[in-house]
Amino acid sequence: MIGRERPRWLAGAMKMQNTIRTALGLVAVVALAIPAAAAEKKEFRYNVAPGTSVTVVNDYGSVRVRASQARQVVVTATASSSKVEVVSAHNANRVEVRTHFLQKAGESDGRVEYDIQVPADANVIVRTATGPVLVQGVNGDVSVDADTGKVEVRDSNGHVRARTVSGPITLANLKDSFVEATSVGGQVMLNNVAGKNVSVNTTGGPIAFAGDFAGGGQYSLSSHSGTIDVTLPASASVDVTAHSVTGSVENDFPLNPPAHPTMALAQGKSLAGTSNAGASSVHLRTFSGRIRVKKQ
């Protein structure tokens, strides 16, 4: 029995160790409790009529807007700190959700994450600075402005307008849309985007288009110094013109020369031709950026 007894110094050390463990545990609980208290989650629900407009104004956090079957707008907002609050209002056919700064706050403590469900026919307007934006499945008019935030609009067939200063823009699976995408320095990617009027414009941001230019529409992709890459299948029915003032134009897509050229063609700087019935008009323009047309 005596042999199994702990020495006094060891018992003291163990007691000390337990005290430290308890203290560390308390610190951990407190540390976990602080962000839990700071990150406030709010939910707003509004019954809305067809064609309601939903406006979201947020500086830093992400905004995700998705279409749902219900005739409701459901806003779930999570504020990162008590320095910001979410203000939401429903007036007639308009829902407005806005981040409101109660104190000066930066990107980490001024962040609010929005997850919003809207009826598919809603019109959506989002304005952010750095936060990413996703709008999915909305068939009303969609307008998104962001400074550096990434903008993504997909699975829609309304009027889509996306503008950024340097944030990348991705538009995917848009049908029968009227599309305007403008970025100064951000990349603009379009995958399976079709409509009567599709217009993309950048200064230095590269433009990438992959799709068949369906719908017999007018497609205009232009950049000052950014590259334009177009990838289209052999089945595409297009009437293409491309020109770069000081850059180059490369093509490996089989095009029939135009019967009545509308522009003077210079080798390596411009091209014009049709494929199949030439249903859609495609204009590719750069000042100094390289243009490349490729077969899928």
């Binding site: 104004v57 947020n58 304005r127 600075a129 400074d147 503008r163 320095g185 230095g204 003032v245």
Partner: protein, 206 residues
């Protein structure tokens, strides 16, 4: 007083009446008296013309045609070529001005104490209509962004620089070949991008 002396001060006399010496000349000189009478009649009739609508474009075209036939003015060539880049550059400049104006309005609003928490009416500042956004305007815009949205400040600075470079590049090409339609389109788009930067920088965020 001679007729020449009288007619030199004629506008003043018609507006406010003349001095004794001028009144005397008016009474004594039938030529100057008739002249003043005619001018007063024209002034009265002109007042009646004010509410009238402008003549239709057909009237102006008729006048233009007559002047051309009489050799008073040269017939216009293709409009775009005759006017050159200046009018549409002015139009593009106006686009930027609108955005710049919005910027000044927004900045004026933000300079109001407590503007962020309490909605204040915008303070409209005078904007010169003869200038497009200058380097100084750009600098002010960047200062505004740095204060209002510091996280976006660097992006605005580098992209504004990029747009200005693209404007300069397209302008240079256009000066070398004013008939280069694609360079002109590039310049048009570059101005559009600059207008967008101004608009984006001044839009309302939290």
């Amino acid at each position: 007083m001679t007729c020449a002396d009288f007619q030199r001060v004629l506008p003043y006399i018609i507006e406010t009446g003349g001095k004794a010496e001028e009144e005397r000349h008016l009474r004594e000189c039938p030529i100057c008296s008739d002249l003043v009478q005619d001018l007063r009649y024209i002034a009265e009739q002109a007042k009646l013309l004010v509410p009238m609508e402008d003549p239709s474009p057909r009237v102006w075209n008729g006048i233009k045609g007559s002047l051309e036939r009489e050799g008073m003015i040269k017939p216009a060539r293709a409009r775009g070529r005759l006017l050159g880049p200046i009018p549409w550059m002015a139009a593009l400049g106006a686009m930027i001005l609108v955005s710049f104006g919005a910027f000044l309005v927004e900045r004026g609003r933000q300079q109001q104490p407590g503007a962020q928490l309490d909605e204040q009416p915008p303070v409209v500042r005078a904007v010169s209509l003869n200038t497009i956004a200058t380097e100084q305007d750009d600098e002010q815009l960047l200062q505004h962004v740095a204060a209002a949205r510091p996280a976006s400040s660097r992006a605005y600075e580098s992209n504004l620089k990029q747009v200005n470079a693209s404007i300069a590049e397209a302008k240079k090409t256009l000066q070398q070949d004013p008939d280069d339609g694609d360079a002109r389109q590039s310049l048009h788009r570059a101005y559009g991008q600059k207008a967008m930067i101004y608009e984006m920088a001044t839009r309302s965020l939290p």
